[in-house]
C-alpha cells in the first residue's frame, strides 16, 4: 500500500498536492528540533504582539535609584545601568528584532526575487550584468557589507533594515536564478508560451510558485541571520540607537558592567541566542520537510 503511494508521489508533475502538504506537515511534526524552533518563534511573536500587556510601564524610562539591581521579585531579570527593567526591555526589544527580521526579508524579497527571476528567465546580457553585480556583492562578507552600507546611510532602524536587506539581496538573486534555470525548461512553461501567455504572466504564475519552496526556507533562515546582524550593528553602536530597547544595543551598553553586573549582558544575549536558534532550527526542519527526496 505504501509502495504504491510512494510511487505515485514520485511521479513527475505530481509536485504539489494535498497529500504533499500533508506529508510535509507530518515530517515537520516528527522533527522535534524544528517543532521546538517553531514554538519558540511563536512565543517570540506572541511576546512582541502582547508586549504592553506583559510589561506595563515604559521600558525606556530611566530610574537611576534602581540602577544595576540583580534579579529580584520586583525586577525579574534585574535592571540596567539606568535602572530600567531588563525584562521589559527584552520584551519590547523582541518587537524591534522581529520588525527588523521581517523588514530585512522584505527588502531581500522585493529586490532579490524580481532580479533573480529576470536573470534566470531571460539569460543573455541582462543575466550577465545582474550576475556580475551579485558576484561583487557576494565578494564581501555579509556583515561587512551591512556595516559599510550603514556607514553610508547612517544609523537608525530604517537604515539598519535597508543595509542588512541589501546585504541579503545577492543570496536571493542566486537562489531564485538557480531554481528558475531548472523550472524554465519545464514543458508546462513551454506549453504556456505556446498558447501565447505573456512573459510576465509566465514568470509570476508559472515559475514563481514553483520556486517558492527554497525561497520559504531561505526566508526563515534569513530571519535568524537578520536578527544576529541587527544585534551586531546595535552592539557596535551603529544600529538601532538608544533609548530604543534593542537587544544588541543592550548588550553593547552592558559591556562596561560585565564584571560588576554580568546579568545585564547575559539576558539580552540569551534572547538573541534563542531567537536566532529558533529560526535556524525551524528553517532546517522546513527544508527537510519540504524536500520530497528526504523521507522519514
Amino acid at each position: 500500500m505504501t509502495d504504491i503511494k510512494n510511487e505515485k508521489d514520485s511521479m513527475p508533475g505530481n509536485r504539489v498536492s494535498d497529500s504533499r502538504f500533508k506529508r510535509s506537515w507530518v515530517k515537520l511534526k516528527r522533527n522535534k528540533a524544528a517543532l521546538i524552533g517553531g514554538l519558540l518563534i511563536l512565543m517570540y511573536v506572541m511576546i512582541a504582539i502582547l508586549a504592553p500587556l506583559i510589561y506595563r510601564g515604559n521600558p525606556s524610562a530611566p530610574n537611576l535609584m534602581k540602577s544595576l539591581e540583580t534579579p529580584s521579585i520586583e525586577y525579574f531579570l534585574g535592571t540596567d545601568e539606568l535602572g530600567r527593567s531588563i525584562m521589559g526591555r527584552i520584551i519590547y526589544g523582541s518587537r524591534i528584532s522581529l520588525l527588523i527580521a521581517v523588514g530585512v526579508v522584505f527588502v531581500g524579497f522585493i529586490i532579490g526575487i524580481p532580479l533573480g527571476l529576470i536573470s534566470g528567465y531571460y539569460g543573455g546580457k541582462i543575466d550577465f550584468i545582474i550576475q556580475r553585480i551579485t558576484d561583487t556583492l557576494l565578494a564581501f562578507p555579509g556583515f561587512l557589507l551591512a556595516l559599510a552600507l550603514v556607514a553610508i546611510l547612517g544609523v537608525g532602524i530604517k537604515n539598519t533594515v535597508i543595509s542588512i536587506g541589501i546585504s541579503m539581496v545577492p543570496i536571493y538573486i542566486r537562489l531564485v536564478r538557480g531554481c528558475v534555470l531548472s523550472v524554465r525548461e519545464e514543458v508546462y512553461v513551454e506549453a504556456a508560451k505556446a498558447v501565447g501567455t505573456r512573459d510576465t504572466m509566465i514568470l509570476i504564475r508559472h515559475i514563481l510558485p514553483n520556486v517558492m519552496v527554497p525561497i520559504t526556507v531561505q526566508t526563515t533562515l534569513g530571519m535568524g541571520t537578520a536578527i544576529l546582524f541587527a544585534a551586531g550593528l546595535g552592539f557596535l553602536g551603529i544600529g538601532v540607537q538608544p533609548p530604543t530597547p534593542e537587544w544588541g544595543a543592550m548588550l553593547g551598553s552592558a559591556r562596561s558592567y560585565i564584571f560588576h553586573s554580568p546579568h545585564v549582558a547575559t539576558f539580552p544575549g540569551i534572547a538573541i541566542f534563542f531567537s536566532v536558534l529558533s529560526f535556524n532550527l525551524f528553517g532546517d526542519g522546513l527544508r527537510d520537510a519540504l524536500d520530497p527526496r528526504f523521507k522519514l
Binding site: G13, R15, V16, Y188, A191, K193, A194, V195, M201
Partner: protein, 342 residues
C-alpha cells in the same frame, strides 16, 4: 503558386540551425510545405529527424541563440519570422496552437486545471475572470471530461495521463486557433487512450474546421488521422503523398523501409517474410553524408547518390519525392544495371 494561395500555412526553405559547442547542427535544412485549412497533415520520421524542431520553429519557441531560424513561414499572409516578439505572442494560441508530447509534465502542477485554461483564454480575449472560467469549464466539457465543473477546480495530479492530454487539447483549442501543431500527442499514452484522443481530435477538427499538423513516428496513427503525409529524414523532406498513395505506392526507399518495418500480425505466416528493418542509424547531424542523406542506408543507392543531392521531383499535385531513382535518366541507368547484373 496556386498551392500557396490556398494554403493556411506556407513554409518555404525553413532552416533551423543550432550553434553548439561541437559545431553547427542543421536540425531542419530547407524544407517547404503547405497546410490547407481544415486538413490534417502528417509529419513522419524517425527520432531526431527534425519534426519537432519544425513545429517549434514555426511558433519560434526555440531559444535564439543557440538556435537560428531562417526562411519564410507565411501564416495568413504574414511572415511569422519577420514579426516582433509581441506579434508572434498574439499568434500563439489564437492563430496557431500546440499540443505537446508529455501530458504528465505539460500542465503546471501548482495551478488548477480550470485556471490554466482560463488564463490562456484571458491572454487573447478581454474578458473577466468569471467569464473566462466559465469558458474553461465549457472547453473541458468539449473535450469530454466528465463533471467539468468539479474537475476544473482540481490540480493536474488528480488527472490521469489521458485526461491531462484532454485538458491540454482544451487549452490549445480555447482560443479557437486555425492551426494546431500536435507534437506526438499520443506517444506517451496507452493504446486505448490513444484511440480516444485521436477520435476526440478528429471530431473537434470537423466541428471547428481547424487544421492539424500531426507530428509522429507512428504510421498507424498517421493512417488513421492524416489526409496527406510528409516524410522527413535528417532534416529534409524526402517524400510527400496523399495518405492512400503513400501506403500503396511509396516512392522513396526510406518510406518503403518505414512501411516494411511496421509489424503486421500474421504476415510471416502468410508470406514467410520477416519484419524488415532499415539497416544502420540516422546520420549524426554534425556529420551528414554528402549527396543524398539516406544513401549509406539505402539498398538501391546509385553512384550519383553519394556525390549529389537528389532534386525534388513533383509527380503530381501533393505528390513529390526527392530521390535519384525518380529522375528519368537515373532510373534508366538503375534498371540497366539491374538487367546487366541479372
Amino acid at each position: 503558386m496556386n498551392r500557396q494561395d490556398k494554403s493556411l500555412l506556407s513554409v518555404r526553405d525553413l532552416q533551423t540551425r543550432f550553434h553548439t559547442l561541437d559545431g553547427i547542427v542543421n536540425a531542419v535544412d530547407g524544407i517547404d510545405f503547405d497546410v490547407y485549412p481544415g486538413e490534417t497533415l502528417g509529419l513522419v520520421g524517425e527520432s531526431g529527424c527534425g519534426k519537432s524542431v519544425t513545429a517549434f520553429s514555426i511558433l519560434q519557441l526555440l531559444r535564439c541563440p543557440p538556435a537560428e531560424i531562417q526562411g519564410t513561414v507565411l501564416f495568413e499572409g504574414k511572415n511569422l519570422l519577420d514579426l516582433d516578439k509581441e506579434a508572434i505572442r498574439e499568434i500563439r494560441g489564437s492563430g496557431i496552437s500546440m499540443i505537446f508530447q508529455e501530458p504528465m509534465t505539460s500542465l503546471n502542477p501548482v495551478l488548477r486545471i480550470g485556471e490554466q485554461i482560463a488564463e490562456a483564454i484571458r491572454t487573447h480575449k478581454k474578458i473577466g475572470r468569471l467569464e473566462s472560467w466559465r469558458l474553461a469549464v465549457e472547453m473541458l466539457k468539449t473535450v469530454q471530461i466528465s463533471s467539468p465543473g468539479e474537475r476544473s477546480r482540481q490540480y493536474p495530479h488528480k488527472y490521469s495521463g489521458g485526461m491531462r492530454q484532454r485538458a491540454m487539447i482544451a487549452m490549445a483549442l480555447s482560443c479557437s486557433p486555425k492551426l494546431i501543431l500536435a507534437d506526438e500527442p499520443t506517444t506517451a499514452l496507452d493504446v486505448t487512450i490513444q484511440a480516444q484522443i485521436m477520435n476526440l481530435m478528429q471530431g473537434l477538427k470537423k466541428e471547428t474546421n481547424t487544421a492539424i499538423v500531426l507530428i509522429t513516428h507512428d504510421l498507424g496513427v498517421i493512417a488513421e488521422m492524416a489526409s496527406r503525409v510528409l516524410v522527413m529524414y535528417a532534416g529534409k523532406i524526402v517524400e510527400e503523398a496523399p495518405i492512400k498513395k503513400l501506403f500503396k505506392d511509396p516512392r522513396h526507399p526510406y518510406t518503403r523501409g518505414l512501411l516494411n518495418s511496421i509489424p503486421v500480425i500474421g504476415r510471416k505466416a502468410e508470406t514467410g517474410r520477416r519484419l524488415q528493418e532499415i539497416p544502420g542509424m540516422v546520420p549524426s547531424p554534425l556529420n551528414m553524408p554528402q549527396g543524398c542523406r539516406f544513401y549509406p542506408r539505402c539498398d538501391k543507392a546509385l553512384d550519383v547518390c553519394s556525390s549529389k543531392e537528389p532534386p525534388m521531383q513533383w509527380l503530381g499535385e501533393n505528390r513529390r519525392v526527392s530521390c535519384w531513382l525518380e529522375t528519368e535518366g537515373e532510373q534508366k541507368k538503375f534498371t540497366d544495371k539491374n538487367k546487366m547484373s541479372g
